[in-house]
Symmetry: D2
Subunit: 454 residues, 4 copies
């Protein structure tokens, strides 16, 4: 049975990473590694560590029963430790979970799951980046209307639009990588002093961090949740980036605009009564997932204010919020990936839309073409006159401008035509595309872990 | 397998009400009732309605497959209608979902599920109310420290504190009932005009509302989501009320305060290494659930801004958000119920805490006792002098006050002692308790549906 | 100097209602009325009440200095009471603020300001309603594309769209009125028992509620902030409604759509370099204000969880949040009002857009026209074939359908043309318009306070 | 007149940095630097640049009138450019704002203001860090109760608690510095192509970034608002950190706990009727400010989803949200600073509280002391028995443990006493303090800009 949120607001992959079973597995990884680290530090016998590790297998645990007990006990760690202790042979039993507290297990397990979750996000972001880079390069000089406040402003290129999606994705990759490297071990003991480990506390923490390949924090961070908020903010930004892309697509897919379209996925029925509809399905899921994510980000920020050495509510809310946030973000990224993978681009329609309004979108270009000869003030007056007249009389700007003797004196008909060609007024669009693509390529080649390139 | 959120952030009951299967069941209830209503209106044949109703059985549908298809199609309704159409005998097939749109099915199904969800909340709130009413009456005159900004202010009674919890619960019951009665049919057709029903649109809507016992809205409300925000706000307020109660308990349970305690539930292990701990487990779950809920409320408010005749993201986010909000609220209410059901109250500790600081909490009471004879200005000076001296010298206010001749001139030692007895300075506490209890009783007897009294 | 937020995110009117000076004035209204109520109850001398009332004049107070002191004292009430006490003649001095606590003054003052704030909102909503009612009636049968997921679905009418804006406004008026009538007195004394008033507490509260024309709550509500969340939710819903309207307009104003336009306000420069642009300025402010408001609503919901008898942070945050929420809501409503006041509607462009895509928007209508003769299944096949062919061949649906012999057999050319006329397929649009207008008129005539009709 | 939010939810300093006047000043700094950069690039005449720079003086502008016009025009930049153009001598007039768009001015101005805002935050954080470092060192071995879920768990030291506040502050300083260094120039022209600058767009951007000492982004970022969300998240984390500190203090100040106290500020009246109260005034403001900030953070995250080349609402909301967020964060940091500056610490009360419950807080310590001799399992049983008995009989754990022969066999009375001394069971507390202090010192000495050390 898929998670209730699949496949609309999660991916199967992310639901698996953050399933109750995976959480138990990660908690057992902590317990097993803790025993090893303590054996290495000479705190517990080697044999005890082995005996514990042997039972740290998720198959030996009834996940549903643990969840049920967690409701009673207040944490999922307490019943797990109890059960593990029961499983371990008697001599070693006393060394299970030695010196640790529930929060050590739970927070560290979450860090391990977060690592998998970030990797999953990164792989989708890498794919999105590669596709957007290709779109950006292919369409670097494909003119389309630049739209500000949803009004035609001046031309841009579809490649530059894709370059923005690319740049957003690259930055998210960078941030995801930083968060991944910053994932922290939690080990503080009952109240953050590691007192039960005597003077070996920090030594054990170092060894445990090594075992689990997590970063050793300066201090245990039981109620210092800036780390959690920082992780949440990166997930939230990722959602924001994906939703921006998706919203651009939904707007471009409007019946009246029609410049791009989502490919129709296999099995997508469309509207039975309205066969003409081409709905922005992927874009919609992306936006919906992002909206859900933003709500969770807010929970995790306000949850930073935790009481003394262990929170009353703020911490526990994370157990639902962080997995939800990963699920929603995973969904946003996956839907966005499928969106760009099948995106159909219609340069002709882009060109046609540029001509809506009789070329008025070239008003600024006209002014810039006139300015070197007429001076900027006069150029502005002439361009404005022509544009206003074109609008009022519903005629082409080119035609109207050609009638103005002030234009004719400084621009030949061919020059005028060239000046009013949207493709000639793209400024640094191509250079910007280059910068965005280069940055992505550099990340892929130099910074990205090899496991992200699958 | 329990839902991933059970039993920490949901109840089994609420997870069932908002399961994918229940959603399919509710959508089928819509389709079946729609056919009946259209047959009653003479729009489709009676026999077609019967044939459709016959197949509107959740057992005939593969819920997981429908969810999978929903991801492709953009809504869970489209694949359901397709599958239902396949199931229905050929003659009637053309009348399935006649004149309706996906959003009609989904929104109405959500309204049906919300009805069950509100009923579930109400039953827990009724139980909380009954317990708090009993606590309020029993402890109407049990003095405890009133605390403002976490400082002792003047005495209050534990009964008055419970009366506040009661009043919050009663008001939530009232609001839940209003929302329940206001649950709306959705029926607008493809773009909200019911055009496919010709001039019978409103008639069919009336009949359908009757069939499903939902309220007929003035207009279809496809993108008018104030109704959803209003429902969300009531759920959010319910969480806020429960979390306020829970936080009071968590604060009163502090080691240094110890005035109440959660009963230890069966199977709750407590801390293995720290057997002395008595954790506010129920309170913590309540607060955590409420925090999660607040995040979802925000999603539903910002989701009100939907595009034209159907939203792109805002609407779809509701499909995850509303069930989550019900789950979190169900969890908050259930945990709060268990909290009050097992609450242990320690009037002796309350009395002892009142004496912390040598009775300084009676400073205002001393002033009020002196004022009739000394005038308020002089009374204030005398009371302040005594309180400051008591604080500085770490002595009892009673003792210090007794030494002040200005006090002795107007109050006998017995009068003074009586004036400084916290139990004598409870003002309208008992009257307020009465008001809160009466209001709850009136609701139970006059307003609450009988089904809520289980 | 206008408030920093004017005129972009507030109105002058709302900034005045929630200025620091207005807050002081409202606190003084409380103190003065409290003294009168206590005199009526025989608790303080008549002459003292008069002496106090005489000094409750905002002109006698240095507002900036009070704010400064509030930072130190923790509340704006404490320094105000101190200053008022200094001003009052000696004999009456002791009776200032008798039996009340800072929160009583502040919460009641906020209720008084909220009353003015709600009235201000209501007046703008009334104006919006009147204009939308007129638009709805005028355009009840003006066909335009109904758009779902931003795709053409089936026709609707502009009047029905305006009727939705109207219905949203009417419901907000109803909610605003309910909140206005539910505004509550706060009077609980130091910890909510009214102990300093002996057995006269509830009597004084009744008289004070009468003096201030506020509702007497069942209990003091110092830390029962559901009332605040409820008020916040109504303001948030109002913003959501306005932003929905504004977003519809912004989308309709797109260069490619062009169905409505904001009137150009006096002094609005437009873009100097792009004279062709017609920006959705009012719509943008409305949406921006609503977005800001949603953030504040979330603060007020999470702020419900307050400690014991007075909150530590949650309550104080309201002092900024509630005024901000009123300001943002006032801005959203005012900008929306100006938006509809100057809205230009272009039925021709609506008609032209309906024809985009060669009438494919009439696919459902074609099916409905065929169904009575061909049966629904066959009608669906025929209509789908025709629509798909029209799309593929980029031809008119009318033309393609006319070529299909299955169509010709059951519909004459004239019937077919009529069936594919968008204006003929508006279903219950006009009836819905009527319902929305009637409901608004009924509210205006029966429910709205006369002061709202200015 | 102070800003309406001062001094409760802002500081005078931050209100000044984000005043309307400062925004105009920063916009003028952009216009002036743009002209210089364009002159350096040879795009406009040197003399024009000088003529423009000469008029870029805030004194020449009527700020209130500009705000008024901004309401009409849709941005504050358009009226400013218009007014500036009017002021500049005729020859140079045409070169004002050359090639830039409103968003370039506004976003860059916000970056300049943000730089000042971050500096202001950093100075307060530096002061907090220095004080917390001193507290941490002084009290590294001052035992106090470690509290989890508000229950006594095991001892910690007050120094370790202060070290956590310190570590939070140090990390915020690091993040503030990163954001400060990452503040970006905005320059994209009408739709992000810099078309009006021909092939000189990137060159001008480089020079302008140099002039303003801002970072040159890879691309213009008109609708790529991850940068804004990232800044917002750092401000939100700062608030969370401060509120955590403040909440710890508010909890420790409770009448029943009394371990620390805010110093009474000059002019703080306290409660007139309750002279015994010592309210957590600074802590309350800090928490309230943080709560307000969290709401704004959410606005800025959801505001990432902006339309095409310029947002409709999401961007404009930032103009209120970002200044508000800086104000609230400035307030949180300033109040927290004053809080720690005057914090009174009571080690005796800490010691006394450790003894509440008869030393049961030493249960884990007892077990650890017994374990080396008895084995962990037996040690656990013995310790648990003793603790339970101590709790039931309300006796001292030391006394009860001493009676148990299993204890007596392995621990002498002196050893037992030593083992149950809270000061002996602080584990790595002191080492953690050292790590936190070292990290802060390293930041101050190596990373912090000298201007932050005032």
């Amino acid at each position: 049975v898929p998670d209730r949120a699949d496949p609309m607001f999660s991916t199967e992959e992310m639901s698996t990473i953050f399933s109750a079973e995976s959480h138990v597995r990660a908690m057992l990884a902590f317990e097993s590694a803790l025993a090893r680290a303590e054996a290495r530090a000479g705190i517990i016998p080697e044999r005890a560590a082995e005996a514990i590790a042997e039972k740290c297998a998720v198959e030996l645990f009834d996940v549903a029963a643990l969840q049920q007990d967690a409701g009673m006990a207040g944490t999922p760690a307490a019943p797990l430790v109890k059960r593990l202790t029961d499983l371990v042979e008697e001599d070693a039993r006393g060394f299970v979970h030695w010196g640790a507290t529930s929060q050590d297990v739970i927070d560290t397990a979450m860090a391990l799951q977060a690592r998998d979750g970030l990797d999953a996000l990164a792989r989708d972001l890498m794919a999105i980046g590669a596709i957007c880079a290709a779109l950006a390069e292919r369409h670097a000089r494909t003119p389309m209307a630049g739209r500000t406040l949803l009004q035609h402003a001046v031309p841009t290129s579809f490649g530059l639009k894709a370059a923005h999606w690319l740049a957003l994705s690259t930055r998210q990759l960078t941030r995801v990588q930083q968060r991944r490297e910053g994932l922290l071990l939690q080990l503080g003991g009952a109240a953050g002093t590691l007192a039960a480990l005597g003077d070996q506390g920090i030594r054990v923490a170092e060894l445990l961090a090594e075992e689990l390949e997590l970063t050793l924090p300066e201090l245990p961070w039981h109620t210092d949740r800036d780390y959690v908020a920082e992780l949440a903010s990166v997930l939230g930004m990722t959602c924001g980036a994906m939703a921006k892309l998706a919203q651009d697509v939904a707007l471009l897919m409007q019946t009246e605009v029609g410049e791009v379209a989502e490919g129709i996925p296999e099995g997508a029925g469309g509207s039975s009564a309205m066969p003409q509809k081409r709905n922005p399905v992927r874009a919609t899921w992306t936006i919906a997932s992002a909206r859900l994510a933003f709500g969770v980000v807010a929970v995790l920020f306000s949850g930073m204010v935790q009481e003394h050495e262990r929170g009353v509510g703020g911490w526990q809310a994370e157990w639902s919020a962080l997995p939800d946030l990963f699920r929603f973000t995973g969904s946003a990224v996956r839907h966005a990936r499928k969106l760009v993978e099948t995106l159909e681009v219609d340069p002709e329609r882009m060109r046609a839309n540029l001509e809506l309004g009789g070329g008025q979108i070239m008003a600024e270009a006209l002014m810039m073409a006139l300015a070197p000869r007429l001076g900027r003030n006069e150029a502005f007056r002439v361009a404005t006159d022509a544009t206003r007249r074109a609008a009022t009389e519903r005629r082409d700007l080119l035609e109207v401008a050609a009638e103005d003797h002030r234009v004719g004196e400084v621009l030949s008909p061919d020059d005028l035509r060239a000046a009013l060609d949207p493709g000639s007024y793209l400024g640094s669009a191509e250079a910007f595309v280059r910068r965005a693509v280069d940055r992505f390529r550099a990340f892929v080649e130099s910074d990205a872990p090899t496991t992200w390139r699958s």
